[in-house]
């Protein structure tokens, strides 16, 4: 059975606990064992903390990576931001010995050390590569008939030269995972347009971020999508939070919640009450 260190991040546990809950349930049902990565901090967020001070970002990320290394486990994340941060940090530290040495001087002050070996994965990538669409189909007890919009976000697939998961301009793995539940992923314009929240944009220039989101919502509406399916709690928060004022009403579910639903999880267990845009199933 596959076994991973489960990295929670911030937005899932502290805003959308249903994403955490459904990830745990879905992984259990699919034979993926999750071990809590205890004592982890924020990844730290690539758009803000890395932009403020790269040294802090790298050292704090290295601490998270070292916690997993000590357990002898590879990391799985449920957020594109966490994935982007930890993957990039792990990549830099594995390829630049001087950086690793510098970071280890800092970690030594807290009695830790990082050898540079931790691998970092995204939940959706683990489901697609390791579990496989067929196995998910077998576990579906409540096939869904929704028409949905697959939202990949940015840091799941990009930069593609180091991530190598799918074609960043025309990806399909999320569509395939979605369709395993019986739902139909609707084709639409600008499928890989950023939600707008990343890079600190949501916090600093929320109106600009909303313009990105609005284009996405318009394209989704035009496609006939009844739900937005994301793989990132930050994209999730952006779509969930700004829709009302933009005049849209398309409920948002994380992939883990969609698969959870197809396996019979209830609205309570998915903590849909935490969603701002009402989710009616």
């Amino acid at each position: 059975m596959a076994k991973y260190a489960f990295f929670l991040g911030c937005i899932a546990p502290l805003r959308y606990p249903g994403i955490e809950k459904s990830t745990r349930e879905v992984c259990k049902a699919l034979g993926v064992e999750l071990v809590d990565l205890k004592d982890a901090s924020c990844c730290p967020a690539p758009g803000v903390i890395r932009a403020f001070n790269k040294k802090t970002w790298l050292a704090a990320a290295a601490r998270n990576l070292a916690l997993a290394e000590k357990e002898g486990l590879e990391i799985v994340t449920i957020c594109n931001g966490c994935y982007g941060s930890l993957f990039d940090a792990a990549y830099e530290l594995a390829h630049e010995p001087e950086l690793l040495e510098e970071v280890n001087k800092i970690l030594a002050e807290i009695g830790m050390h990082y050898n540079g070996t931790t691998k970092v994965h995204h939940f959706a990538e683990v489901l697609h590569r390791e579990v496989g669409v067929e196995k998910i189909k077998e576990k579906v007890t409540n096939p869904l008939s929704y028409q949905v919009a697959a939202f990949y976000g940015c840091h799941f697939l990009k930069p593609s030269n180091i991530k190598n998961i799918d074609d960043p301009e025309d990806p399909s793995i999320l569509d395939e995972l979605i369709e395993a539940t019986g739902a139909k992923s609707m084709p639409r314009k600008q499928k890989v347009l950023c939600c707008g929240a990343g890079g600190g944009l949501k916090a600093a220039f929320g109106d600009v971020a909303k313009k990105f989101t609005e284009t996405n919502l318009e394209n989704m509406k035009e496609s006939g999508a009844q739900y937005i399916i994301d793989v990132c709690p930050f994209c999730h928060l952006q779509f969930d939070g700004v829709q009302k004022e933009l005049g849209y009403n398309i409920p948002v579910l994380h992939l883990s919640q969609l698969i959870g639903l197809s396996m019979g999880m209830t609205a309570e267990d998915l903590a849909l009450s935490a969603h701002i845009t009402p989710v009616t199933l």
């Binding site: 916090a203 267990d269 935490a274």
Partner: protein, 165 residues
């Protein structure tokens, strides 16, 4: 008056943005930039300004903070310029020189205080309990010693200076 500053190139390189010199100004990045389509931010122009060393213009500008780090440009750049890394390097310099958005300072403070960039909300804590999750997630939030370690990393890397008023 615009004053090019050759020393700035060294500063950018030290912050991890050395590859900016590879840019040959084709404009592919701006053509696909979702931010540029919605704001006055022009990523090709930013790369040129960085090459020329127009430090003051760059570090005080709003445009520097209008990139969403979506990587569209990085995927398409024919010179493999690591544009997002360069934007990050420029932002690090901008922050070090005191140009930080108040909202960003709030996020930074939250991270320094609890090790997460999102605040703890009582309603969500209760909801976690209701659905059978630990009310306090098993992160730094559940272990003071772990939080002390994170704080030490922040102090050792100069982050505490950023969150000061």
């Amino acid at each position: 008056m615009v004053t090019p500053n050759p020393e700035f190139a060294k500063e950018i390189a030290a912050a991890g943005g050395e590859m900016v010199k590879m840019c040959f100004q084709c404009g592919t990045c701006t053509a696909g930039c979702p931010s540029g389509r919605r704001t006055s931010y022009r990523v090709r122009k930013l790369m040129r300004m960085a090459q020329l060393g127009l430090k003051d213009e760059i570090i005080a500008s709003d445009e520097l903070w209008e990139c969403s780090t979506c990587y569209t440009c990085v995927e398409r750049c024919p010179r493999q310029v690591p544009i997002v890394d360069i934007v990050v390097a420029l932002r690090n310099i901008s922050v070090a020189e005191g140009h930080m958005r108040p909202q960003h300072k709030g996020t930074a403070k939250n991270f320094a205080k609890i090790g997460h960039t999102v605040k703890v909300d009582d309603k969500i804590t209760a909801l976690r309990g209701q659905i059978g999750l630990a009310e306090v997630p098993p992160t730094v939030l559940a272990n003071e010693k772990a939080m002390a370690d994170v704080s030490k990393i922040l102090a050792l890397t100069g982050f505490d200076k950023i969150v000061q008023e």
